[in-house]
Symmetry: C3
Subunit: 676 residues, 3 copies
Amino acid sequence: MAQWNMGKIMHGGDYNPDQWRHIPGILDEDMRLMQLARCNLMSVGIFSWSALEPQEGQYDFGWLDEVLDRIAVGGGKVFLATPSGARPAWMSQKYPEVLRVRPDGQRNFHGARHNHCYTSPVYRQKVAQINEKLAQRYADHPALAGWHISNEYGGACWCPRCQEAFRQFLKEKYGDIQTLNHAYWADFWSHAYNDFDQVEASSPYGEHSVDGLTLDWKRFVTHQTVDFMRHEVAAVRKYSDKPATANFMCIYPYDGLDYWKFRDVLDVVSWDLYPMWRGDSNDYAMAARTSFSQDVARSILGKPWLLMESTPSNTNWMEVCKLKRPGMHLLSSLQAVAHGADSVQYFQWRKSRGSAEKHHGAVVDHVGSEHTRVFQDVMQVGQALEKLDSVAGAQVRAQAAVIFDWDNRWAIQAAQGPRKDKQADETVFEHYFALRKCGVNVDVIDSQCDLSGYQLVAAPMLYLLKPGVSENIRKFAQKGGTFVATYLSGVTDENSLCFLGGTPGGGLGEVLGVWSEEIDALYPQDQNAVVFPDGRSYRCGFLCELSHLRTARALAVYGSDFYAGMPALTVNDFGAGQAYYIAARTEQAFLDDFYQKLTLEKQIERPAGNLAPLEEGVFVSQREKGTVKTIFVMNFSAQAKHVALREKSYTDLLSGACVSGAVDLAPWDVRVLQYC
Amino acid sequence: MAQWNMGKIMHGGDYNPDQWRHIPGILDEDMRLMQLARCNLMSVGIFSWSALEPQEGQYDFGWLDEVLDRIAVGGGKVFLATPSGARPAWMSQKYPEVLRVRPDGQRNFHGARHNHCYTSPVYRQKVAQINEKLAQRYADHPALAGWHISNEYGGACWCPRCQEAFRQFLKEKYGDIQTLNHAYWADFWSHAYNDFDQVEASSPYGEHSVDGLTLDWKRFVTHQTVDFMRHEVAAVRKYSDKPATANFMCIYPYDGLDYWKFRDVLDVVSWDLYPMWRGDSNDYAMAARTSFSQDVARSILGKPWLLMESTPSNTNWMEVCKLKRPGMHLLSSLQAVAHGADSVQYFQWRKSRGSAEKHHGAVVDHVGSEHTRVFQDVMQVGQALEKLDSVAGAQVRAQAAVIFDWDNRWAIQAAQGPRKDKQADETVFEHYFALRKCGVNVDVIDSQCDLSGYQLVAAPMLYLLKPGVSENIRKFAQKGGTFVATYLSGVTDENSLCFLGGTPGGGLGEVLGVWSEEIDALYPQDQNAVVFPDGRSYRCGFLCELSHLRTARALAVYGSDFYAGMPALTVNDFGAGQAYYIAARTEQAFLDDFYQKLTLEKQIERPAGNLAPLEEGVFVSQREKGTVKTIFVMNFSAQAKHVALREKSYTDLLSGACVSGAVDLAPWDVRVLQYC
Amino acid sequence: MAQWNMGKIMHGGDYNPDQWRHIPGILDEDMRLMQLARCNLMSVGIFSWSALEPQEGQYDFGWLDEVLDRIAVGGGKVFLATPSGARPAWMSQKYPEVLRVRPDGQRNFHGARHNHCYTSPVYRQKVAQINEKLAQRYADHPALAGWHISNEYGGACWCPRCQEAFRQFLKEKYGDIQTLNHAYWADFWSHAYNDFDQVEASSPYGEHSVDGLTLDWKRFVTHQTVDFMRHEVAAVRKYSDKPATANFMCIYPYDGLDYWKFRDVLDVVSWDLYPMWRGDSNDYAMAARTSFSQDVARSILGKPWLLMESTPSNTNWMEVCKLKRPGMHLLSSLQAVAHGADSVQYFQWRKSRGSAEKHHGAVVDHVGSEHTRVFQDVMQVGQALEKLDSVAGAQVRAQAAVIFDWDNRWAIQAAQGPRKDKQADETVFEHYFALRKCGVNVDVIDSQCDLSGYQLVAAPMLYLLKPGVSENIRKFAQKGGTFVATYLSGVTDENSLCFLGGTPGGGLGEVLGVWSEEIDALYPQDQNAVVFPDGRSYRCGFLCELSHLRTARALAVYGSDFYAGMPALTVNDFGAGQAYYIAARTEQAFLDDFYQKLTLEKQIERPAGNLAPLEEGVFVSQREKGTVKTIFVMNFSAQAKHVALREKSYTDLLSGACVSGAVDLAPWDVRVLQYC
C-alpha cells in the first residue's frame, strides 16, 4: 500500500488550467499567484477528458505536460486526476450504453457529470485506456504526488447490465435463492423468487417494499462503485505506485456510498467539506457537525487524511451562499488539521468563467489579482501551515468512539415505523457532540470496527447488527469497556430481519440487561421526562421505548404518561464493564451531562486537561507523533473564551509565543499548542 | 346472496402462517395464543400466491390444509383469501402484461402489491385458476366462514388493454360519440372526438382538463375493479356459496373507488380502519371521523359489517406511529361494534419478521409471548365480545342521514374554481359531527339512496346531481322530510355539465327556494359572519354564496362585506317538509347549534334520551334486534363524563351490573347497556 | 405593417359560440346582451378547430358565417382567431408527430392545449391550411377587425425535430463548434463538443448544468415560437392585411417566451391580465404589479396595446378565486386604458357549460341573464369606454424607464449562486414601484432598447450584458442621462460568460465608478443597514455587494458586519450624466425615498403636478394625443384619497363635470381628467 507522506501539511486545490489554456498569460499568472499563496499541492485533470482525448483515440497531453512542468519548477506537487467524472460527448454519442439509466428504466441524455454506468464494458475500457495513458506518461514526473481517482463518486444506474451485475452480487452473497427468500422474508406479499433471474433492482417503479432488497441494492451500488474504482486504480498501477485516493462527500446529507468499503482500494482518505458557516451562534453546532465528518474521515484508515476540497470563500449551491467572515477561513482550515488532515485544499483555484460553478468561491476570482480579501485569507492559511511541519503525519488517538454505520443508516431509513422521520443521523451526532463538549478526542467508526482500543463506545440507535458486532460489543464490555446504547438497538440482523424473542436482540439484550416491550412515537407537541431520584429532570420525547429491567438497574425513570416510572436510563454490569441504555430521545442537555459524568468517571483523556465541560463554542483536538503532542484549541463563537490547560508550558506554533496554564481566545480564534 | 350470520361478534385478524411455516413450533404457539386471546376468526391466505403456487401450475396446499385443520380443531373460523393482491415473480417474468402501466404509458417493474392490470386476460385467467383451486379444496372445510376476496383493491392501470376497456365502457354508456361530446362539452378547447377510438384515459401526460372525461375515468376504474372482483367471486362460486367480502379502506383520504358500486358483488361489507389515536383531545374529532367511516360501512348494504382490519397497537406507516393508550383498544374496538360491526379483527396476528410491515402493530409481537400489554388488551376485547352475543346481527337504525357521494367528491375535485382546495369531504364531516353531537344515529349514504325512511337528510355541497337525485329530494321534502343543503349545491348534472338557468339547478332551487348569483372565495385571513335577528353571530368564510330568496325566508344574514344583509341561512316550506340552505362555510359551532335545534324540533330519536347535546368527547350509538335495544356510550376524552339516560334500568353487558338513570364514564370508558 | 386604429376604446371578449351552436336561442340572446353591455369587439374562433374542420379536409364554416354576420349587423367587430391553440383528435390520432415530447424524451398523449410541436411539418402544414381557409373566407367580412393568432403561445417540445432545429439555430448563431465551446466554457466538466450533431436540448434528464446551453435553449424556444407565429401570419397574409396580434401572458410568473422578440411579427401587442384583487390593502402592490405588465405591453411596440383578456368577475385557477369587489371592475379596466390599452376585453363572454373553465368568470353566467352584479359592472365599463373616444390611440410618454430583460431573467435563474432564490423580477419591480409612487410615467424596456429618449434609466440587477448594451448606457450617461444600477450588474456577457478583470464588467464599471470584490448572501434573519451621513438609515440584506470606489463617491455606507463603512450607495459623474450604484437589496422605503429625491432633482415630469409622493394606493398615468393630455387618477385602496393637480381646470370625462386644482377620490375610485 502506497503511503502518503509529504512531511508537511500541504496546501492547494483543484486547478483547471484546461479551461484557460486558450487565454494567454493565465498560466504564468497562476504560477506567480501559487507562490504567493503558498500553494504546493494542486489537483489537476479532474473532468479533463475532452481536453485530453478530444476525439476517440486522439490524445492531447501538451497542455498538461506544460502545467505539470511549470508546477514542478515552482516546487509544487500535483494530485493527478483520472478524468472519469464526466465523459466527452463523442463517447455518449457513439456508445449510448455509457449513459446512466434511471429507476424507471429510461436512459439519460448526455450531460451533467457522473451520468455514466459503472458496469458498462465500453465505459470501463475507455476509462482504463485514458488512465493507463496518464499513468504511463506521468508516473515519473517530479510533480506527481498522487492519484486523484475520478471525482466524488456517486449515484446509481438501473440499466440491464447493472441489473445483471446486481443479480451476480446476490448470487455470490446468498448462494441459493431460498436463502435470499428467507433473508428478504419473501413470503410477505408473495415476494418469493424462484430464481435469481427474477430479481430486479429496488425501484420506486417496481419493488420498493422489501427492506432486504432495498438494503442489498444500496450495498450493491457501493460494491459496484468500489469495483469501478478498483478497475481505475488497476489501470494506474500498471505504471505508478503513487498513493491513490477518491474524494468523498460530506456525510450530511450524502449517504449513497458506504465509504468504509473503500478501505482496501484507498491509500489515503480524502474528503470534500463545505460547512454552512454563518458567522453567528449557529456555527457552534456546525463546527461539531464538521468535526464529525472529519473524525469519520480519519477513522476509516486510522491515519491522517486529506481535506481535498473546501471553499476559500462561499459556495454557489447553498440556499444562501454566505461569505466566510474574517477569521473563519484560518479557523475552519485548521479545524481539519486538528482532526487529522494533512492538507488544506480548495475547490477551486481559479474561478470558472462559465457554466455551473462560475460563482463558486475560488482562491483567484474573476478579477484575477491577489488583492482580494479571499486571497489574503488563503495566504494566511498558507503561512500558518508552513509552521506545522511537526504535525504532519501525527495521529489523533481517541479513547472514545461513536458508532456510525452505513448499513444501519440505510436499514433505519428503509424501515417503515415507528415513525417516518427517525432522525438516526441526528441522534448519533447528538451523542458525538456531547462527547466533544467534554474535550475528548472521538473516533467515529463502523459497527464492525475493532473496539478493543477504546474505553468508551457509544452506539446510538444501533438498529441493525452485522455479523460479529454483538460479539465484539460483549467482549468489549466484558473486558471493562463502557458501552452506551439507546432505544431501537439490536432490532434486526444484517438483512433487516427482526430478531425473535425480544429486543434488543442478537445478544445485545444481555449486555444491556433490559428488554423492550414497545416503542412509543410522540408528536412534536408531546413530551415526557427522564427523572432522576435526586429530582433532576430532562425533557424527552420523539421515540420512547417501554422497557423492563432484566439484570440492569434503573438510574432514571419516565416522568409521565402511562409509562411513568418505567426505566428511562439504566446501567448493567457486564463482566468488567458497564452497559448503559437510554430509552428515549432526550434533549441535548441530558447527553451533555451524561457524558460529562461518564467520561470523568472512566477517566477518558482530556487533551486540554479540563475537568469542566468546554465553554460553548470551544473545541479541542489533539494530534500526537511519538512523544510530541499538539493540541488545537478553537473558538467557534463571537465571544472571547478562556481555556485552562493541563501543562504548564506550550509553544504556540503559529505565533512562536510561549503559553502557560491557560489560553484566552478571541472570537473565531484558533491556537496550535505544542507541549514543550 | 350469502348471508353473514355467525351468531356472535367475531374476533380475530390477518394471519400469515405461510411466512412462518419453516420455523418449527410457531404454528403450535399460534394455536395456543389464539385460544388465550379468544380469537375465533382468522383471515388466511392474503398474499399467499407464491406459497400456494410456487411455480406455474404447481400447487402446494399442504401448509394451508394444516392451518385450517388446526384452526377448526380449536373451534375457530377462517376468512379464506384469494391471493390476487400480489402475484408471484414467475408470473411477472413470463407474462409482463400482468404488470400495471403508469399514466405516462410506461410499464412498472415487478414488485410491491396491487401492481397488476385488472384487464389483463392472463391475469384474470391465473386468478380464476387459483381461486377455483382454493374454492374446490376448501368449500366444505369446517373452518371456512367466508371468502376474503383479494386485499384492499385500489389503483389503476393505463395499459392499452385498459384503454380499450375504457372505450368500451364509454360506448356502452353513451352509445354514440356525439352524446359523449355533448356530455364532455367537447367543443371547449377543440376536444370533440370523431370516434370512440380517439378517446384516451385521463392522464397528466395527455388529457386532464376535460372534467367529464376525468370523472368517467374514475368511474371506469371502479367499474373495472368491480368487474374484476365479480370475476374473482365467480370462480369461487363454482364450488362455494359462503359469504364473500372485499376489505375496503379508510375514506380519508382514500377516494379511488366508489364503494357503493360493489353492493351487488359483496355479501357483507368489511372495512379496514386505522384512526390516528393520540390519547389527547384530538381523539374526539378522530372518533367522529372514524364513526363516519363506520356509518358508511353499515349504510352500503344497510346491515352489520365487519371490521376486517384494525391495529391492536400502532401502525407503521403514519408520520408518527403513537401507541394506543390504556383503554383505547377496548374503546375503539367497541366503537366499531356500536356502529354496526359484527367483528373486531386485526392486522396482524403475528408481527412480520421482515419486509415492509415488520414494525406494524400485531397481537403477537417479535418477543412471541402473551406477556405484553398489547396481548392483554386484545384478550380484554376478546372477553368483552363474548358478552355481546345478543348484539350480533342487530341493526343500527337512523332517522337522520348525511349524503356523501363519490361522484360528487370526484366532480368537486376535478372542478377548477371557485378555489383550489374546496374541503368538500371535510364539510360533509362537519355536518355529520354536528349531528352525532346531538346523540342521534346517522346513516351516511350515496345520493341515489332511498330517502324515504329518513326524517332528516343533510346534503352538504351536493354539487353534482345524478339522475333521480333531485326528484328523490323533492319527494322526500314534499312528504314532510327535512332537507339541509349548502352553497355549491345542484351546480352540475351527472356529467359535470353546469345547469343553465341558475344555481341550485336540476330542480333543487325550487326545493330550497333560493337562487345563487355568485360565490365568493375568501383568503384564510378574511372572515364574514352569519348573523341572526336576535344578535347571535357565527364566523363564516372560505366560500360564501351570494343568493337571493325566491320562496324561502332568511333566518340569518351575512354580517359584513358588500353582501352584508344577504341571506346566509334560509328555510323554505316545500310540501309537507322544509328545506334549509346554508350559504357559507361556517364555524363548527354554527352547525352544532343548528342541528341541535333542528333535531329537537323534528324529534329525531336520541337513543340515550338526552335533550342537551352530549358532552365533549361522548358518543352514543344504538343497535337493535327485534325489541332489544343496546346502546353504546363512549367517552373519547381524558375527562370523566356524565350521560343521563332515558330509561330507568339497563344491564351493563360487560360488567353485568344494573344501570339506571345515568351513567358516569371514566376517561376513555365505554359502556354497553341493554334495556331490560 | 397593419395599424390598429378603431377610433375608440373597444370593449368585448372571448366569444365561443361554437360551444353553444346546438342550443337554440343562445345566439339571439348573445346578440341582445352584447348590445346591452356595449360590447363591440369579440374574439371568435379560438380553439374552434374541431368545429371548423371536424374531419380532415372537411370544413364547416356555416356557424362561423352566421356569428360574424350577426355581429356585423349589430355594428360589432371581431378578432378572428387562428385555431392552432389546440388540435382536433383526428390529427393527433393520424399524425402522432404533432404531439409534444417531454424533456425525458417521451411523447405526450393527445389532450389539453398547446400540446403540439411547433417544428412538426405536418402541424405547420395543417395550420397553414386552416389559416388560409379562414383568411380567404373572411378577409373582406365587414366584422373583421383583426387576427388573433393562436392563443397564449407557450411551452416547448423536446422531439428529435425540435432538437435538430435547435442545432440548426446554434449553427447559425455560432458558425463553428469551437465558438460554441468557448461561449459555453465547455472545458468545464468535459463538456466540449466536436460537432453540432452532439448537442442536445437542455433537459433535467441530460445536460442542465451548462448555463450557456440553458440560455440558448430558452432563446431557441422563443425563436421557434416566433417562427411558428410568422408561419401562421404568412398564411393569413395571403388574403388579409388586417392587424395581427398574439395574446401574451402575465409576466409574473410566466417567463417562458421573450415577448420582445415578437416585435416584427405583431401589428399590435395584446395581453391577458388576471391580477389577484383582494379588496384590501394587498391591492396597492397588486395594482403596481399589474401596471408593470401593462407598461411592458406598451413599451414593446411603443404604442397602444389591447387588453385581450381579463375577467369581469373571478378566475377559476387561483388558489382562492375571490370575487371582484364593487368598483374594482371599472377601476381595474380603466387602469389598463390609463397605461395605454385601447381595449378592455374579457375572458369570457358566456361562461362555459362544461370542462376546465366552466367556473371562470364571464359576462354572461350560467343563469343566462343580464340581472347579475357582474353584467351590470360590465355595462358600466361599456358606458365609460364610450366616453373615452378622445383617448383612443393616445400615447403614454415616459421620461423614466426600468430595464426588465428576458435574457437577464433567464441568466440569473440559470446561475448557481450567490443564493438560490435571487428575486431578480421582484427587485426590478421594487424599483418600478418606487418610481410609480412618485407619480411619473414609466416605460419597462428590454436592455437593448434605445435609451436616448429617457432622462432616467434604472437597470436593477442587470447581470447579463447583451451586445451594445454597455455602450448604450455609456452614451446615455455621457449625454446627461441618469443611470441607476445595483449589485450583480455587468457580471456576464450575452452567453453568461463572466467578465474577467472585475465586476461590473463590460465597461459598466467605468460608468458606475466602482468595482465589486465580493457579494454576501444573508439569511432571512440577518440584516445590515444603508446609513447616510445625516444619520438616516434603511434596512438592507439578502444580497450585499462589497465594493470599492474607483471614481464614484459614497453617498451612504453599510452600517454593520465586517464591511461596515464600505459603500452602500454611490454616485459617479460620467460625462454630462450621473450613475448611481446601490450595493445591496434594501427595504422598499429606501427606493421610495431615493427615487423621490432623484426624480425631483432630474425634474422628471409628473403628470398630476405633485411634488410629494402620491398617497398610498394612488396611481396616476397620463396619455397624450397631439396637445390633448388625459390623466387617469386611480385609488386602489379602501380609504378616500386627495390628489392635488397641476392645472386649474380639467374635464372629468366620465361624469362630464369640471374639476379644478385637486380631486377627492372615494375608495376604489377612478377619474379620467382631460386638460381643457
